[in-house]
Subunit: 216 residues, 2 copies
C-alpha cells in the first residue's frame, strides 16, 4: 500500500485547475507519461469492458490542425501531451468475446467458467439496449476515464485541461479515427502551466459543501 | 505541492477493484470521509457549472431498502458509505445565474465582468441544446465525479464499488429525490473490503496497452 493522507490529496485537487496556457517548452517525462497511460488503462468500467481507446497525438503538425477545430484553444498544440478519449464504434458482441478471451488469458481460467458473466453482459448491453443506448453507456465510461486522468495527473503534479469545446467529427477526420473504428468523445491535454496563465491564480469556485453534498 | 511518485499512484490504482463484499464493521473515519466529500466538491465540470448533488445516505433502514432495487447487491447496505451521484433536474438559466453569483462571491469581482462568460454558457447550454441534450451533458460531468471519487478513495486506501446496476427511478422514490429536484444517475459505495471477498485477489483484467493506447 502506498496510500497518501487526506490533506495531501486535497492539496493536489486544489492545485488542479483547467489550464488554459501551457508552457510549450515543458514536456512530461517519459516515465510520468507512461504512468498516466497506465492509469488510463487501469480505469474502472462497466463490467470491465473498456469500450474505449485513448489516442495520443504526438505529431506537432497534426496538433496544429486540431487548433481551429477546437475553438482556437492553443492548449491543443501547446500542451506537452494530447489524448483523444475515443469510443469503439459499433461496439458488438465480438468486443464482449474479446474481453472474455482476455479474462481467460489473464486469469488462466476456462471460458466455460465465464458463461454466466458473458450472458449477463450480452443481456444488459445487447438485449437490453439498442446501439444509441450502448453509445451513451460507452460515453459514460469514458468520462470515468477522464475523471481518473485529471486526478491522477494532479497527484503527479501534472497540469491538465479537459476539453469538450471541440468538433468531434473534425477530430475524427483529421486523425483518421473512423478507419480505426473509433469516434472522438472528449479531449484531455496535459503538461505544465505557463507562468503567464492568469487562470492559475484565480480562486477555485465551487458551491458551498451544503449546496453540493446532501446527507440523508 | 504534495505530489506523489508514479509508482505510488500505480500501486494504488492496481490495488483498487470493484469491491463486492464490504466489511460492515469497518467505517471510514470522519476525517477521511470529509476529504472524500471535498474531493467530490472539487471535481472538474464543464464551465465549472457543477450540475450535480452528491447524496450521502446514512440511514441504515433506507440503505436496506435500496438493496432490492440494486439487484440485491449487498454493498449498498454493507459498505461504510453510500453516495448517490444525482443530477439537478430541470437545470435552467437560474442555475447558471447561481454559478455567476458564486463566482462574484468567491472572487470578489463584479458580475458585469462575467457577462461574456455568462453568454457563452447560455449559448452553449440553452441555445445550443435542448433539455435532453443538457441531461446528457450533465450525466457526462457526473461520471467525471465518479472517476475522481474512485481514484481519490484508492489513494486514501479506501475501497469502492461503482454501481450502475441499480433502478434509478426506485432510488429517487425511496430517497425522495424528486422533491429535492434531483435524479439518480449512478451510485458509489465506499468502505473496506471483507476478508472473504474473493474478488479482491483476482488478477485485474485489462486489454494490453497497445490495444488501448493508440499513438499517432
Amino acid at each position: 500500500m502506498s496510500t497518501i493522507t487526506a490533506p495531501q490529496l486535497l492539496e493536489q485537487l486544489q492545485w488542479r485547475y483547467a489550464t488554459k496556457q501551457f508552457d510549450p517548452a515543458q514536456k512530461i517525462s517519459p516515465s510520468d507519461w507512461a504512468a498516466l497511460e497506465e492509469s488510463l488503462v487501469l480505469t474502472a468500467s462497466s463490467f470491465g469492458l473498456q469500450p474505449w481507446k485513448f489516442v495520443v497525438v504526438t505529431d506537432p503538425a497534426q496538433r496544429e490542425k486540431l487548433v481551429p477545430v477546437s475553438w482556437n484553444q492553443r492548449q491543443v498544440a501547446d500542451a506537452s501531451h494530447l489524448v483523444v478519449f475515443a469510443l469503439k464504434k459499433n461496439f458488438s458482441e465480438a468486443d464482449v468475446a474479446a474481453y472474455i478471451n482476455r479474462i481467460v488469458e489473464v486469469r488462466g481460467i476456462p471460458a466455460a467458467a465465464l458463461a454466466q458473466y458473458n450472458d449477463m453482459m450480452i443481456g444488459s448491453l445487447f438485449k437490453g439496449r439498442d446501439a444509441a443506448a450502448r453509445k451513451v453507456w460507452a460515453i459514460n465510461q469514458i468520462y470515468i476515464a477522464l475523471g481518473n486522468f485529471l486526478t491522477s495527473a494532479a497527484l503527479l503534479g501534472i497540469d491538465t485541461c479537459p476539453m469538450e469545446g471541440i468538433d468531434p467529427a473534425r477530430y475524427d477526420e483529421i486523425l483518421g479515427l473512423d478507419a480505426l473504428g473509433l469516434a472522438t468523445v472528449v479531449v484531455g491535454v496535459a503538461g505544465y502551466r505557463a507562468a503567464t496563465d492568469k487562470y492559475a491564480s484565480l480562486k477555485k469556485v465551487r458551491f458551498a459543501n451544503p449546496d453540493v453534498i446532501v446527507t440523508l
